[in-house]
Amino acid sequence: MIHRLRRAAMFVVAMLLVVALWEGYKAIGPAKGGDVLGFGILPRTNDQVMPHVWSMVTGLFDPAQRQGDQTVLSVVLGGAWYSFRIALVGFAGGVAGGMAIAVVLTRFRLAERAILPYLVISQTVPLIALAPLVAGWGGKLQIGDWVWPKWMSAAVLGAFLAFFPVAVGTLRGLKSPNAASLELMDSLAASWWRTLVKLRFPSAVPYIVPALKLGGAGAVVGVVVAEISTGLKGGIGRLIIEYSRQATSEPTKVFTSIFGAALLGLTMAAIVACIDLALMRNRPKESAS
């Protein structure tokens, strides 16, 4: 309990430190930017570029439109919520896909050598280039009455970033049981499938949990970038673009949308942390063993 309180306190302290750095530099830095040894690397500190932290906070409660009673805060939260749901779908899809790939690669040794290089290559394709492609393919999809919704393209790109760490982590985990455990399952005449369920998957959990953390972050990044590059409206990615265009008249707005994106990432991290707690309870702690 004390341990948790301390962690919470550290989080607050870290936040305050960031605020202090921001405001500190703003107080002493040159208003119009400056040169160090001839390089213009010192950012400008005027309110246009570096608004005060408190004006960002109060900016949250300004009306989002000139005429209207919706505040910036509710627009940002709405956008974050919209993107969050897409990211969750992408995360779930990526986890399912990544685990399925890992199972197939474990089952068929040959497939591993054939497929794994392609998985690695897939992650080097820039998401920005892929996003319009996926949106284009999705736009042509129609199965019966079901039409590919636009947000699905963003979810697919989220999944695209999420599946890779999950596939690699799960693959390592599925291969982690030692020879004695595998012999034990053999001696009990357990089928490959039951060995997977009763031995390989439980053994893989400590490898899967950190992979989920990477996958969760990947899903969020994938969705936000996909929103921007496919022009999907309603999400936090789109809001960041919209608000940065208004930076000249309302410089705090873009920062509020970044808060929203950070909140989105934190929520995803919290969900993965809960999964971690649930899966790893009753496991030996690292200090033991």
């Binding site: 030692n178 004695a180 455990s181 012999e183 034990l184 053999d186 001696s187 009990l188 005449a189 357990a190 039951r194 009763k198 031995l199 439980p202 959990v205 009753n282 496991r283 030996p284 033991a288 063993s289």
Partner: protein, 284 residues
């Protein structure tokens, strides 16, 4: 090869129509057969083990004793020869879970509680939950760990973990127990204690045991017969009967006859032609 000569009190058990627990004939095992790095792990192995017998396999490293155990367990396939377990081909016996197995590493699943570890073989046999639980608790009583059902494996000492592994191996009441240096990682005190308990458990459940070990006193203390093996290629060189009676206790370890048998096994091992002399054998 003598079949029942050393079985002592077990001779009556084998006199009936019950099939032999293990019957090995003309067994040969070559690893990497037909390749440049082919290794003859076992040649000309014939061995018959009667129901209720306790047989140890002893020999220097590389003599193929673990390989022999794995051939009986059908974890390996023989290059030639036959292995019958309980009168059936070894593969069939494995499918029917006619044997339980315990290794040097207890191999408990760290994500399962003690009781759920013991339930594993029963789960794979498709038993119902209530039946499994009842049997697992019965097994825990047998290995004197009744109070530890809900513990996780890492909370137990090495000796206790090994007892859980034995309970797991015996959970489905298999007629045969295969053990590969199960006490090899334990300290001497725990080891002697576990040996005495294993004998009690086997007597109570009338289980046949094939036991691989490096330790001469362990083999002599536990066994009705000690099978001495030699390497390159792995084969059986001698089978030594140990007639110490069926109720052995701590006093057995100090009996003259016990030392006599230890000497006999040691001489059999010394007789193995291997240049540098036997390695990997513990005299303790």
């Amino acid at each position: 090869m003598s079949t029942t000569s050393g079985a002592g009190s077990n001779a009556t058990a084998s006199a009936g129509t019950a099939p032999n627990a293990v019957e090995i004939a003309g067994l040969r095992k070559v690893f990497n057969a037909n390749k440049a790095n082919a290794v003859e792990a076992l040649v000309d192995v014939d061995l018959t083990i009667a129901p209720g017998e306790f047989v140890s396999l002893i020999g220097p490293s590389g003599c193929g004793k673990s390989t022999l155990l794995r051939l009986i367990a059908n974890l390996l396939d023989p290059t030639s020869g036959t292995v019958l377990v309980n009168g059936k081909p070894a593969a069939q016996a494995r499918q029917d879970q006619d044997y339980g197995m315990a290794f040097q590493q207890s191999g408990l699943f760290e994500w399962r509680s003690v009781v759920r570890n013991i339930e594993l073989p029963l789960e794979l046999k498709g038993w119902g939950k209530a039946e499994r639980r009842a049997r697992a608790h019965e097994m825990l009583e047998l290995v004197k760990l009744g109070d530890f059902a809900g513990h996780m494996p890492w909370q137990l000492s090495g000796g206790m973990q090994q007892r859980v592994a034995i309970a797991r191996a015996l959970a489905a009441h298999p007629p045969l127990l295969l053990m590969d240096e199960p006490f090899g990682a334990l300290d001497e005190m725990t080891r002697e204690h576990m040996q005495a308990e294993l004998l009690q458990i086997c007597a109570r459940t009338s289980t046949t045991v094939v036991f691989v070990t490096h330790s001469i006193p362990e083999a002599v203390y536990l066994s009705n017969r000690v099978v001495v093996m030699s390497p390159r290629p792995g084969r059986i060189t001698e089978i030594i009967d140990v007639d110490l009676g069926s109720d052995r206790d701590e006093d057995t370890r100090e009996a003259t006859e016990f030392y006599g048998r230890i000497t006999a096994v040691r001489e059999a091992l010394r007789g193995i032609e291997m240049g540098a002399g036997p390695r990997g054998i513990e005299d303790r």
